[in-house]
């Protein structure tokens, strides 16, 4: 499958994401410049971390006006899997592809450290290979990861099971002392209503090799591959029996009709 890594001026985790996709997971990967008008046949999109356009006004505020965001939005709305990591998450929020907004970290400090995360939902393309309640140790590095949503939006997010990862203590308990940025309900990652767009503050691409201090981030990439494989086999079944269901057809378009 093919990863599209969206590069904005100021992105700085694009090469890490590219390295993970191509070198560690053996997949095709291509950079998509923020001025590109198409997604070059990508099956999955990653909006990587960094400081898009300098993050001067608000984090991610200008990136949503980049030309590539038109095709990114269309891809997301058609059910294509999109992962925003850190600044990528902030961009998805500003673009309205995910609900809510980011505030400055509660303690105002830029936090760069490993955190513990509890997997809350496994029915997203980016957590499908994890088990519910699994604890992941993955690094964060951000100054504005204090997730905020108005109470009604928050209630809706919880009711729809859209909180994908939460900050916890090492045993998986919710404890404000282990919440690095003050995020409401200890939210570290969430998905949209259709579950194909996920934003996460932690950096899974920095946690795929023991040399870098841990491999817990691999499960995010394993999930993408697992989702892609099952979408492929569904599409195949559909073409064999000749009556692809609506969801089968949607998944087939999700796989981009390309072999690996």
């Amino acid at each position: 499958m093919k990863f599209g890594i969206v590069v904005f001026p100021g992105s700085n985790c694009d090469e890490d994401a590219f390295h993970a996709a191509r070198d560690l997971f053996g997949q095709d990967a291509e950079y998509l410049w923020h001025k590109d008008a198409d997604l070059k046949g990508a099956d999955v999109l990653i909006l990587p971390g960094g400081f898009a356009h300098g993050d001067y006004l608000r984090t991610g505020a200008m990136a949503r006006f980049s030309p590539v965001m038109g095709p990114v939005r269309a891809f997301a709305e058609a059910g294509g899997p999109v992962l925003g990591i850190c600044n990528g998450f902030q961009i998805l929020l500003e673009a309205g592809l995910l609900p809510g907004a980011m505030l400055r970290n509660k303690g105002l400090k830029y936090r760069c450290e490993h955190v513990h995360l509890r997997v809350e939902q496994t029915d997203t393309p980016f957590t499908a290979a994890a088990t519910g309640g699994q604890i992941l140790k993955i690094p964060i590095g951000h100054g504005e990861g204090n997730y905020f949503a108005p109470p009604d939006t928050l209630a809706q997010l919880e009711a729809n099971r859209q909180v994908v990862l939460r900050y916890t203590d090492p045993q998986g308990g919710i404890d404000e002392g282990w919440n690095p940025n003050g995020s409401v309900n200890a939210i570290a990652a969430l998905c949209n209503d259709a579950r194909n767009v996920v934003g996460m503050m932690p950096h899974p691409e920095r946690a795929c090799e023991a040399l870098l201090g841990g491999e817990d981030g691999r499960v995010i990439f394993d999930s993408i591959l697992k989702t892609f494989r099952s979408a492929e086999s569904l599409a195949l079944q559909g073409s064999v029996v000749g009556n692809a269901s609506e969801s089968g057809a949607r998944r087939a378009s999700l796989s981009g009709e390309r072999g690996r």
């Binding site: 608000r58 929020l93 500003e94 970290n105 105002l108």
Partner: protein, 79 residues
């Protein structure tokens, strides 16, 4: 014309910077400063002499770019 745009966090949104500033002020002896909310201030020079047009332009810019309506509200003055 010139527009002044004040962008502030909504009252329901916690302001970590404002809290830090009020704590600092109180520790400096300004006990009567009971709260601080930090915001952003923009001055826009507009190539129009028409007040209604200027107000419309400034509020478009504030709505679309300068403020994030999820967490912030804004106020505009034009002269």
């Amino acid at each position: 014309m010139r527009a002044r745009v004040f962008v502030t966090l909504k009252p329901s949104v916690f302001d970590p910077q404002g809290r830090t500033i009020v704590d600092a002020l109180q520790s400096l002896g300004y006990q009567n400063v009971s709260d601080v909310r930090q915001g952003k201030y923009f001055e826009l020079d507009l190539a129009t002499t028409e007040r209604t047009q200027a107000e419309k332009l400034a509020s478009d810019v504030a709505e679309q770019v300068l403020a994030n309506p999820v967490i912030e509200s804004y106020r505009i003055e034009v002269d």
